[in-house]
């Protein structure tokens, strides 16, 4: 993995802040998507996102454990050293559709986890700090587990590649 010069994370607190933010933003996004799917009467997908949020929550708590006692830096959102426009596990909003299928939702999540994995792998490969490299590698590993888990879930779906059903209802005006 090639190092992107200004994206090199040097210290443990900086790394942990990234990791916590990654997970927290991911949780928040999944919750938001859960809300949105509920609002749009797609309870099945809402449940998928809620589940992903729950897992993320656990993961975030775990990472926060690592940070106990450390003073984390304050970094403005735009100065995070992400390799993606937003934090890696927030996904591409425009991929969403209210009629999205379970397969599509899981692929969306898989994309997130992959980006997460890539981020950690990038840190593991490029950080100048040994401790950071090790922890990042560990997290990358965990993300890989998530990917595997998602892949398994996807494989178990009857129709993983399903496309959204055609939207038979015209959009409404609400105001």
């Amino acid at each position: 993995m090639t190092a992107i010069p200004n994206l090199i994370i040097e210290t443990l607190p900086e790394f942990l802040l990234h990791a916590i933010t990654l997970e927290r933003e991911s949780v928040e996004r999944y919750e938001e998507l859960g809300d949105s799917m509920e609002v749009h009467n797609n309870p099945q997908i809402a449940a998928v996102f809620r589940k992903l949020a729950r897992y993320g929550e656990l993961h975030a708590n775990e990472i926060e454990q690592h940070a106990t006692g450390l003073e984390l830096p304050r970094i403005p959102p735009w100065d995070f050293k992400w390799t993606t426009p937003e934090s890696p596990e927030t996904g591409d909003m425009e991929q969403l559709h209210y009629l999205m299928t379970q397969g599509q939702a899981l692929i969306f999540a898989l994309h997130n986890e992959t980006q997460g994995r890539d981020f950690y792998a990038h840190v593991a490969a490029t950080s100048t700090n040994q401790e950071v490299r090790e922890l990042a590698a560990e997290f990358a590993e965990e993300e890989t587990d998530h990917m595997n888990w998602l892949n398994a879930w996807i494989r178990n779906l009857a129709d993983p590649d399903s496309v959204s059903p055609e939207d038979l209802d015209p959009p409404n005006v609400t105001e």
Binding site: S36, P76, P77, W78, P85, M93, Y98, P171, V173
Partner: protein
Amino acid sequence: MHGNTPITGLKPKDYKTGIKPVWCPGCGDFSVLSAVTKALAHLALPHQNVAMISGIGCSSRLPAYTSVYGFHGVHGRALALASGLKAARPDLTVLVAGGDGDGFSIGGNHFLHACRRNMDMTYIVMDNEVYGMTKGQASPTTAPDWTQSKLTPHGPGVPQFIPAAIALVSGATFIARGFTGNPNGLTKLLVEAIEHPGFSFVQALSPCPTYRPEHKAWKKQVRPVEEEATSDPIIAAQRIQTDDGMSTGVLYQTTVPVWQPEQGISADTGQLEEVFFV
């Protein structure tokens, strides 16, 4: 920073109300909500000292989703309402949000005059080049050849309105363009805009997947502005006019005195009445 004492430890989520947005999944406006709350958290502004004013449209639903003071006014008049609020309450941080229809069609006059007046507030337009709320008609920023609206079956046929260019000649002192596909970049622009003393205008390219699905392509078209922000209006005009409307970043920034009514008490009502005595 408007004399507010920042409160630390506030997270973006603390600036959300928990009311679930009615927006279509995939709508760019979600990212604007996210960027706004991140910017407020970054600036650590106390909720009670911020007001978010809007008009009518999908995008104008924003205030109800942020946990600061809000006013969801009538179509096209958000800037006027906000200007009155700021004039009467200069201590507040005033944000204004809305759509391209709200801001540039029915609200065009207030846009012109708010830019000129240069009061210290921030105006965020979620530009989706369409009237989302009313089923997808052409807005001023819609391309002349977009034929998907039943009201303009041959396309609106008139050149696109260039918000940054109008803002510039009208006198806005901070002009930026962001993209909802890059919410952190947008957050940065919003923070700068809010910190800017004077009228700051942020055009947020915010796709409407429902009526303008073709705007998925924006992702590939946007790019950061190449040059540093200029404070020279001539240079800024040139850049804005010659670019394709897809470059993001601060396009123009200058500092000129902010308009704010004179304040201070020098008389009571009784003294005012003295002149009437015979």
